[in-house]
């Protein structure tokens, strides 16, 4: 189950990583980046049924409402989350959040510190003043009515914190500033799709009417029978960027592929819930591929078919002796797809 928790954490970390990335500016000194001062925060809205809900504010003017959960049965299980990124109409620096989640809800909260303060030194490789985190409660009202009624609540706020970080000079070891103000980048799949070490990997993506859908099903070298299946859906709606993710540790039989050197290559994918149905991949002559079947998914507030000719598909089955790093999802990704280009390779 450690693996499940790790991947779940990685998915959640996408938001945090995106938030951090948004703060950076080009460096002034060779080999150094200047990271501007920033205010970030979080609100824990607790649990509603099977869901953990809360707010993450990566900057003064962006709020991300998230709903997440996990289901575990024996050594199998899955993680799912929805993230809604919106602009904050007030200033978090002044302790205020006011945002509209389209037709789904509103957030109007004000921070009340409880006196607890914690200072943190800049991370390794950075120079500057320590950040200051104030703890307390956000009070006011947060309401939400999830798509298709998957979740309803009206809450008076919850425990939270605000962190003020100061201008830092950091060694230029990682690229930054990927989001450039785009809300979509805050909820993009990013490292959620890290596939390093997979020796069999099937993926399907589509970009249709502003909605990006990406699925990967991979089997890691050395691991027991079964496959890890991940899906990320990214779309913009009513001034929101919505990212939906799910991954499951599928049981034996989830992913079956032809072996290296077999032509035409083929595969079947039959993951457990929240997926349903089965898909068949087959390489055809003239570099064509078919992706057919009944595969679909029931995510929070969204039911989607996941097969059809609109999907771009690829299958990678490697001999681990010949390629030590496994299949590279990003290398095969078409460059013009709507997903933020190669975000994952930078964040992972």
């Amino acid at each position: 189950m450690g693996r499940l928790a790790m991947v779940g954490f990685a998915a959640a970390a996408v938001l945090i990583a995106g938030a951090t990335a948004a703060q950076a500016k080009p460096g002034h000194r060779v080999g150094f980046d200047i990271r501007p001062a920033n205010t970030s925060g979080s609100v824990d809205l607790g649990k509603r049924g099977d869901y953990r809900i809360g707010l993450s504010m990566p900057t003064d003017r962006v709020a991300i409402f998230y709903v997440s959960g996990s289901k575990v049965k024996g050594d199998r299980g899955g993680f799912f989350s929805n993230a809604y990124a919106v602009h904050n109409r007030r200033s978090l620096t002044r302790g205020a959040i006011r945002a509209r989640l389209g037709s789904l809800g509103t957030i109007s909260l004000r921070f009340r510190p409880n006196g607890r303060v914690r200072k943190r030194r800049p991370q390794q490789g950075c120079e500057g003043r320590p950040s200051i985190t104030e703890y307390g409660r956000f009070v006011g009202r947060a309401t939400f009515h999830g798509e298709s009624g998957y979740l309803h609540f009206s809450l008076p706020g919850g425990a939270g914190d605000i962190t003020r970080s100061f201008r830092l000079s950091c060694e230029e070891d990682e690229p930054f500033d990927l989001t450039r103000g785009s809300l979509r980048a805050y909820v993009a799949p990013g490292s959620f799709f890290a596939t390093r070490g997979d020796i069999a990997l099937l993926y399907a993506t589509t970009h249709n009417h502003g909605r990006y859908v990406g699925i990967t099903a991979g089997h890691q070298e050395e691991s027991p029978p079964g496959a890890v299946v991940r899906i990320g859906i990214l779309e913009s709606k009513e001034a929101m960027a919505i990212g939906r993710y799910s991954f499951v540790l599928g049981p034996p039989g989830t992913l079956r592929t032809s072996l290296p050197g077999v032509h035409p290559a083929n595969a079947t994918l039959a993951p457990p819930a929240p997926f349903f149905g089965k898909a068949t991949y087959r390489e055809e002559p003239a570099d064509a591929r078919s992706w057919t079947g009944t595969l679909g998914i029931n995510l929070l507030g969204l039911k989607l078919p996941l097969v059809g000719s609109r999907f771009h598909t690829r299958l990678c089955v490697l001999n681990p002796l010949k390629t030590r790093d496994g299949c590279d999802f990003f290398k095969a990704e078409p460059p013009l797809y709507g997903r933020p280009a190669r975000l994952g390779t930078i964040l992972r």
């Binding site: 050594d75 020796i199 069999a200 050395e222 027991p224 029978p225 034996p252 592929t257 681990p320 002796l321």
Partner: protein, 308 residues
């Protein structure tokens, strides 16, 4: 001589701190070993070794089979050895030296005083009956010797008891392991092994035959074979058919789920035991090509306990 060396090495390793043998420039501790050589029934050779740290090893060998019975409950003095091998026999002897002590050459790769070897006989009672009577030895007197050496300083990789060719020079190898059982196949370049053979097969088991593993039985079989018995031209579909004492065939194959499976009816029958299957789903697998790397298939975490 080789038998003596192997037995001594086995006992020596049991007394060393973990990793000591692999250290660069390590100390090989001084010790005193009593060795008794016997002839068992059915053509088996029996070697009994004991040191002064309550370790006793009784080793039976015949052709490619070796069975080691190790106890950590022996009583040992300078010239006295006493031990019980539960259900298999007992040893209670006293060493009587004959003639002057000998000073063999120093160990290769090591610096330290030369060892001392004192020949003689042991007198008392030795009774050993192997499982299902595969061999037995009952005697009141047997030739023996005591070898003693002081601490040795050995260069990296050197081992006072090392003997035979360097078996690490393989070109490809396969191993299947589960708690208590290991099967190994190694392919070598022409000329590395004796008799024109190019593949070495080894099966080994360990069985704790008493509480707290103070009495452990190791069974080992080795055999050399021609290269065609290890068909790994397609590493993801390797067929292994070792000659007797092994029986049957094992196949290392990648399944449509990209799991590497170890299938077939390969087995081995050690002296005094039932045939032991060497294939199945509960083995951890490694296939390695020296120039390219390894394919590994790990056990699910629960299998480390279930397969015991």
């Amino acid at each position: 001589m080789r038998l003596r060396c192997v037995a001594a090495a086995a006992l020596a390793l049991a007394c060393l701190p973990e990793g000591a043998g692999a250290a660069v420039g390590h100390d090989w501790p001084g010790r005193q070993l009593t060795r008794i050589e016997l002839e068992g029934s059915n053509g088996y050779s029996i070697l009994i070794s004991s040191d002064r740290k309550q370790h006793l090893l009784l080793q039976t060998t015949k052709e490619g089979f070796t069975t080691e019975y190790r106890t950590r409950d022996a009583l040992a003095g300078p010239y006295r050895t006493k031990a019980t091998l539960p259900g298999l026999g007992s040893i209670s002897v006293r060493f009587h030296p004959h003639g002057p002590a000998r000073r063999p050459p120093a160990f290769a790769g090591c610096v330290g005083p030369r060892p001392t070897v004192r020949k003689g006989v042991v007198r008392g009672a030795i009774r050993f009956v192997g499982e299902r009577d595969y061999t037995q030895a009952v005697t009141h007197e047997a030739p023996a010797e005591i070898e003693e050496w002081k601490s040795q300083r050995c260069r990296g990789g050197a081992n006072p008891e090392q003997d035979g060719p360097n078996l690490e020079e393989w070109t490809s190898k396969f191993s299947a392991w589960r708690p208590g059982i290991e099967f190994l196949a190694r392919k070598y370049r022409p000329g590395a092994l004796e008799g024109g053979s190019r593949v070495l097969y080894l099966a080994e088991t360990a069985e704790a035959a008493s509480e707290f593993a103070s009495f452990v039985i190791y069974r080992r079989a080795t055999v050399l074979a021609p290269t065609l018995t290890f068909a790994d031209a397609h590493p993801e579909h390797t067929i292994i058919s070792p000659p007797p004492p092994f029986a049957g065939t094992g196949t290392f194959v990648r399944t449509p789920e990209s799991v590497f499976a170890w299938e077939g009816d390969l087995s081995i029958q050690f002296p005094g035991t039932d045939p032991l299957p060497l294939t199945g789903p509960h083995f951890e697998l490694d296939y390695c090509l020296r120039e390219m790397g390894c394919i590994r298939q790990r056990l699910p975490p629960g299998d480390y306990f279930q397969s015991r």
